[in-house]
Point group: C2
Chain length 193, copies 2
């Protein structure tokens, strides 16, 4: 079991409806020491690929990506879920669905900030249906950039996102993959790799 799986077993809680609560260290309160370990682990797993930008999506992906970016020494670009007054009118945009908020949204990135010269590593905290990750892949493709890979902190292996992405031939590295979790007993089973 790796450092992240241990932490999930120790502090994660399984709620009804397929929700894994890790808000004590990953997506509400953020353990920056853990995120540094995660950043170093992504660097190790993607050390053979070229990366010029890390792409993520607001909100909880930003912490993961920002600290990981220190290990790649590249900037972070985060896709926005809604356009504020400070957003460009020229954007790459792709639809996605939020499991957490039960709502559709559009992920957008200013065209000016991503282009064919970029090699992009997509990072996010969770992968479940793959909807957000595929929206980010779509944005990378619209921009003409090269997709170097996709790194996920926790993949819910019982949902279709991981398989979908691997079947398309994209390189996907998830630090923990949960194959089974049960709210009643509180058990969590990880995929053995």
């Amino acid at each position: 079991m790796n450092f992240l799986e241990e932490r999930i077993l120790r502090e994660g809680r399984v709620l009804p409806g397929g929700v894994l609560k890790v808000d004590g260290f990953l997506n509400h309160l953020i353990d920056t020491q853990l995120l540094n370990k995660i950043g170093a682990e992504f660097r190790r797993r993607f050390e053979d690929v070229e990366v010029t930008k890390i792409l993520t999506i607001e909100s909880s992906g930003i912490a993961v990506a920002s600290i990981a970016a220190n290990y790649f020494n590249v900037p972070v670009l985060f896709a926005k879920k809604s356009n504020g007054v400070n957003m460009d009118s020229e954007t790459y945009s792709a639809p996605a669905y939020s499991f957490t908020h039960h709502a559709e949204f559009h992920a957008s990135v200013a065209k000016r900030l991503l282009g064919p010269e970029d090699k992009v590593l997509i990072l996010d905290d969770f992968l479940a249906t793959g909807s957000a990750a595929m929206a980010l892949v779509d944005i990378v493709q619209q921009s003409g950039a090269v997709l170097s890979g996709i790194g996920i902190v926790i993949e819910k292996g019982m949902q279709p996102g991981g398989e979908l992405i691997r079947q398309k031939g994209y390189r996907l590295e998830s630090i923990a993959i949960i194959d089974k979790m049960d709210a009643e007993s509180g058990t969590i089973e990880f995929r053995k790799l």
Copy 2:
């Protein structure tokens, strides 16, 4: 002029309606080297206060807070603007208004994650009306924690937030304070300290 003021002059753009566009390095594409300098600068300015948690608000505050947290060696807690399925029912909550989205929202933090034992440093990317910062101060007070200070990357000194917070006696450190900006000429004037 400090490193941040230089960067704002070089790459920031003033838009009509009091919008400063810094999406090429601060709140869309994030220059992680700059954020490391900002983190180190916050540490220097708050080196005499005790900090157990950094509190910020989604979304663009998260990058600033996460990288700064490396310099304080403490976790980051980010207030949420909407409650997803993974949010506690027991929260501290305070109303605020988003200048970027022209909309009211509630900032919320799970009660479980903040308490009287904490010494909190609030960090955010922008301070304008002070609405978001005061919502975070309100949350700190509800929790019984000690407010160690407030650190802001860019303060819009021509808006009332900074004065409001200083008048209340809170310690506020802004790395750049803009006293005047003009969309037509593109000029930006910083407060001399």
